[in-house]
Symmetry: C2
Subunit: 221 residues, 2 copies
DNA sequence: ACCTGAACACCGTTCAAGT
DNA sequence: ACCTGAACACCGTTCAAGT
């Protein structure tokens, strides 16, 4: 009957472990998250972590869930216009993955997590409000969700590829320079588009894709 | 001056290593590819592989390049209608990743590979032929390419999640069942589309997304 | 030039032993 | 109930030594 409620303020908990994992992931990427590093940061033994999380996959899933939940809480849902609401939700995911690039690789690993379901539902609800026939809902929803997580993931991968501290626009200029030097007979399109690659804004381009899909959905009668 | 051209038929080569790696990846997934397993299959020492490839990243990149190159060689480019050609190229990528699910995770890791450039150009060339204003080319191209690789990657991830030998439609039915049991107040959309999730064909759904984007591009004047 | 395989510096995970 | 940290069975990569 003496249930101890006065635990040490710094007692280990799933929540504290997940937060420490996110800090390590944000600072050093996926490669930096080891149970030894995590145990050191939490001033405990590496085995202690296993009392609270099943394994590394579960830890990454919990960290992803945490980030997505936080991102979704920021996008309210107050927008009356379903198109505007879809843009807000999509940008919320984009920005969250941009801030935590390691999240991008996790979606594919655990796509049916609770937090993901909330994103799925949020998009689906707006698709329903878009005024397209019911038979088109599923494909319209699927295209949007696929694009949002695919694009955000790829963008995060690009960010991950860069050496930390490198200038993003310089790296992009490098790639664009490579495209500009391709054989004009074999790569006319990439040569032509190279300057736009160098100058483009990832966020604007992401949103332009959303708008194209929304425009496509608008043609379904 | 005695250049040996009569090497053993089974001499190690980058090509043989990459092929063995693909075989291992196809059979056992990304986790199965170790230098020890690869060396055993090639009947050599693990260190020998490093004479031909720089490291594991380079090996995965080479394997991915091989698969994409093969897939692209199968999609000719004979279609006159640019929309039809885009569908053929997209489906070619989809099927290649479906057959080699591990490829899906690699795109994000090395997006500027030679084989990828050929896919990029192939899509870009058709976008140009679509008859939209030049100012819209870059965003139209980007949306298509993002969707193609994002969707194919996510689909491959779903395949990877399944226990090997498991029935895909049974797994999908499981997830759909979970959606059908969600709280109707919180998840009306997911509940409603659950039956479609259980019945849908990944390939058809992928193509429906391509068609939505193409329809959206068609609205740009 | 190319191959061998032991050695090194790591991992994730387990588990007897502690409190 | 929860924590400790050594131990186990792996990794990728290196490198002296061979042919």
């Amino acid at each position: 009957m003496t249930k101890r409620t006065d635990r040490r303020a710094d007692a280990l908990s799933r929540e504290r472990i997940v937060e420490a994992a996110i800090a390590i992931l944000d600072a050093g990427g996926e490669g930096a998250l080891t149970f030894r590093a995590l145990a050191a940061r939490l001033a405990t033994g590496s085995g202690a972590i296993y009392w609270h999380v099943a394994d590394k996959d579960a830890l990454l899933a919990a960290a992803t869930d945490h980030v997505v939940t936080q991102a979704m809480s920021g996008v309210g849902g107050g927008e009356a216009d379903p198109r505007a609401a879809i843009r807000v939700i999509a940008l919320g995911m984009f920005d969250a993955i941009d801030a935590h690039p390691w999240v991008g690789a996790q979606f594919s690993r655990a796509p049916w997590q609770p937090a993901m379901l909330r994103v799925f539902e949020a998009i689906g609800g707006r698709v329903r409000a878009l005024g397209v026939p019911e038979g088109a809902w599923f494909n319209a929803w699927s295209a949007l969700v696929t694009y949002i997580f695919g694009a955000a993931g790829q963008n995060a991968a690009n960010a991950r590829l860069q050496a930390p501290g490198t200038d993003r626009s310089a790296a992009l200029a490098d790639i664009a320079g490579g495209w500009a030097r391709l054989d004009p007979a074999d790569y006319p399109f990439l040569r032509q588009v190279a300057p736009q690659l160098a100058a483009h804004d990832d966020r604007d381009q992401f949103l332009a894709g959303i708008d194209l899909i929304l425009a496509g959905i608008g043609t379904v009668r």
